[in-house]
């Protein structure tokens, strides 16, 4: 069914970005533009986009057919024709629902957070562009359009991470994010190309590919599935391409919230879900994805237990949760994975916003051991943060419990006990490090005597809305075992290649187990950190504290070796061989010229001689030829 709304969902934030960019240009070149104007443009456009999405969602709920909107033919090369076309099916509308909603709330939060910043207008221009890119990615009808959004998201993350570009570290972090993502992007491009050939060039839109997937040979499908997943690894920060995510914390906090909750990192999960028909037909790759997810989840959780930077802890927790999502999509439980994306968007956005409030309250102090006692000073932030922590730890009835438990149950049912075990241990660690964070920041006694308390409504309003979401989102997929409707599962049922079917007894047992594990984690954190001695702060040391030295290893393996290669190219190949050859040639010409210049000595007699000699030679030649005749 054709609809004009799809385009507007994307165009509105994009227009917001352009208008804000124009205002900002006017602002720096001519006359000051009030922050309010930027804020209004920046926040209203995502909200209207959200309303449009909601409208489409409700129509789909009524049983309407999938929406689509064809704008124009974009490319036609040989048999390949790519249309600028957007697709609003159950998956993409579900995704864009919370992308616009959570994105909108983060925009509101950013109004308060960025208040008084020099680059206020620029920030909102980037922010809207980020959202627009994400929406292009989500609503794309074929992988090529998806790739526009994919790259747009990458560019915006780069711009926003290095937002405070006067600090070299931020710029480095932005570069790192961009470069690591490029590695993944290469995989994505190759994957799409492989898929295109695997399908005998029978069209590139998702619906066409889905219909023709049986034509492809299995080997090529495995290859393209693997290559596409490399793209997902880069965007969704999975082992081994995760290194950019913790460094991305260099940007202002609203960006972290946006990257981690609604956009960017969920793109990888979404892409795998979008290609569900591909991954369902190659189970080996699915299993590979699930293992990468499990490893990433565990790995990040282990690192998070030793970090002292509040935002880095949250960054690693995001990576860990993304690992869960990949376990689910890898095993074919797409609805569970996407449901976790959905709940995660709420509580993670909230956690980041809360962290931002805590950071602001102490004048941009990010070390958790220098905070403490925030509960009294920041009651709303503290309360919402607690909700987020409980939700991510997986305590019922908060949203994180339902989504995480569904994933673990799925792993158990599929007989992947190793993955299940890793997931359970990660759940324990998650509860531990999140409550460690909470106790240290909000409960522990503090050294700080005075504190600047931030009570801007724009900061607390989104927090409260998200808190409601973090509590209630779980009920959207209330499991059938409790006579719930399991709405998300049935909504996205067509994606799933496997169904959850286990006896109620096992399901209960698994739930109890995961609650017990979470409770154990909380208990350990309580014992250790509730009355923590603030005068003995933890430091990041040891193997875990140093993040397993992965950054250093990468530095030696890739950065240094590539640098060495560049130096070799510059100093040997370019300077010596290529330049040497060129310089020798030009020097040769100069030398010949110098020798020849002696002839031209301005002496008339010599000139006369040359002339005569020339005439003689020509005459001789003519004479010879005449004789020849």
């Amino acid at each position: 069914m054709q609809t004009p709304y799809l385009l507007w969902i994307i165009l509105l934030p994009l227009a917001g970005a352009l208008i804000n960019a124009g205002f900002y240009f006017y602002h720096i070149k001519f006359r000051e533009v009030p922050e309010k104007l930027f804020a209004i443009v920046g926040t209203v456009t995502p909200f209207i986009a959200f309303l449009f999405t909601l409208n489409l969602f409700l129509q789909l709920l009524d049983g309407s057919a999938n929406f689509e909107q064809t704008l124009f033919q974009w490319l036609e090369v040989d048999q390949m024709s790519i249309e600028m076309k957007f697709l609003g099916d159950k998956l993409s509308i579900f995704m864009s629902m919370f992308v616009t909603f959570v994105g909108w709330l983060i925009h509101i939060y950013a109004v308060g957070y960025m208040k008084g910043d020099k680059g206020f207008g620029k920030f909102f221009a980037y922010f809207n562009l980020f959202l627009a890119s994400m929406l292009i990615l989500v609503l794309a009808d074929n992988p090529v359009i998806l790739f526009i959004g994919w790259e747009g998201v990458g560019v915006c993350s780069y711009l926003l991470i290095s937002f405070y570009y006067t600090d070299a570290n931020n710029v480095m972090a932005g570069n790192k994010a961009f470069i690591v993502n490029r590695v993944g992007d290469l995989g994505f491009i190759l994957g799409v190309v492989t898929l295109f050939f695997a399908l005998n060039q029978t069209g590139l839109s998702f619906t066409e590919m889905k219909a023709n997937i049986h034509l492809a040979s299995n080997d090529l499908l495995i290859l393209s599935g693997f290559l596409l997943f490399i793209g997902a690894m880069g965007k969704s920060a999975q082992v081994p391409l995760y290194v950019w995510l913790p460094d991305a914390m260099a940007g202002p906090t609203p960006i972290s919230a946006l990257i981690h909750a609604a956009t960017m990192v969920t793109a990888g999960i979404y892409m795998v879900a979008r290609f569900h028909f591909l991954y369902s037909s190659v189970e080996e790759i699915g299993l590979f994805i699930a293992y990468i997810g499990a490893i990433s989840a565990l790995f990040a959780a282990v690192i998070a237990t030793k970090q002292t930077d509040i935002k880095k802890i949250l960054a690693y927790s995001t990576m860990s949760q993304l690992g869960y999502m990949f376990i689910a999509v890898g095993l074919g439980f797409y609805s569970s994975g996407l449901f976790h994306v959905f709940t995660h968007a709420f509580f993670k956005a909230m956690l980041f916003m809360g962290a931002g409030g805590a950071i602001l309250a102490l004048h941009h102090e990010q070390n958790i051991f220098k905070m403490g006692q925030h509960r009294k000073r920041l009651p709303i932030i503290s309360a919402t943060f607690l909700i987020g922590v409980i939700a991510i730890s997986g305590i019922p009835p908060f949203s994180g419990f339902f989504s995480k438990d569904a994933i673990l149950a799925a792993a158990f049912q599929e007989g992947q006990y190793l993955i299940w075990g890793m997931g359970m241990f990660t759940a324990f660690l998650t509860a531990f490090y999140m409550f460690r964070l909470y106790f240290v920041v909000f409960k522990a006694p503090s050294k700080q005597e005075e504190s600047y308390v931030y009570t801007d409504k724009t900061i607390t309003f989104p927090l409260v809305v998200l808190a409601i979401g973090a509590i209630g989102a779980g009920f959207l997929n209330f499991p059938a075992i409790f006579h719930g409707s399991a709405f998300v599962d049935s909504w996205l049922a067509e994606l799933n290649s496997v169904k959850l079917h286990m006896s109620h007894g096992t399901e209960y047992a698994l739930m109890v187990a995961s609650i017990a594990v979470a409770a154990a984690g909380i208990f350990v954190a309580y014992k250790k950190y509730y009355n923590y001695d603030v005068y003995k702060p933890e430091t990041e040391d040891g193997l875990i504290g140093n993040k397993f030295y992965i950054d250093e290893i990468y530095h030696v393996l890739f950065v240094k070796s590539i640098k060495k290669m560049s130096v070799f190219f510059v100093e040997t190949i370019d300077d010596k061989i290529i330049d040497g050859f060129l310089m020798a040639t030009s020097k040769g010409f100069v030398n010949i010229g110098k020798k020849l210049a002696v002839i031209q000595n301005a002496n008339v007699r010599y000139y006369a001689f040359y002339m005569l000699a020339g005439i003689s030679v020509i005459s001789f030649y003519v004479y010879i030829t005449l004789i020849g005749q």
Partner: protein
Amino acid sequence: MSSLTGYAAVSMILFSLGAIGVVSRRNIFVIYMSIELMLNGINLFLVTFARYHFNMDGQIMSIMVIAIAAAEAAIFLSVIILLFKTKKSLDTNMFTQLKEEVK
């Protein structure tokens, strides 16, 4: 026709002497005279062949050459005077200002 060969040989010798003079002598006057010698060598050639073919074209041509040589003499001599005024010398090796030193 042995006499034709003789005339031709003389004119060629005259021309060659003139050419050698132009190249080898340094005095501008001598160079000028050598040029005249070349012109006259050519004139002799033209006249010889005109006579040989009973065709007056060559003779007319030689008359024109003589006329031009006379005009040229006027210019050449005045140029020589000017050159002498600048350098107080008639040595051609002195007049090499158009040269640029090669570094």
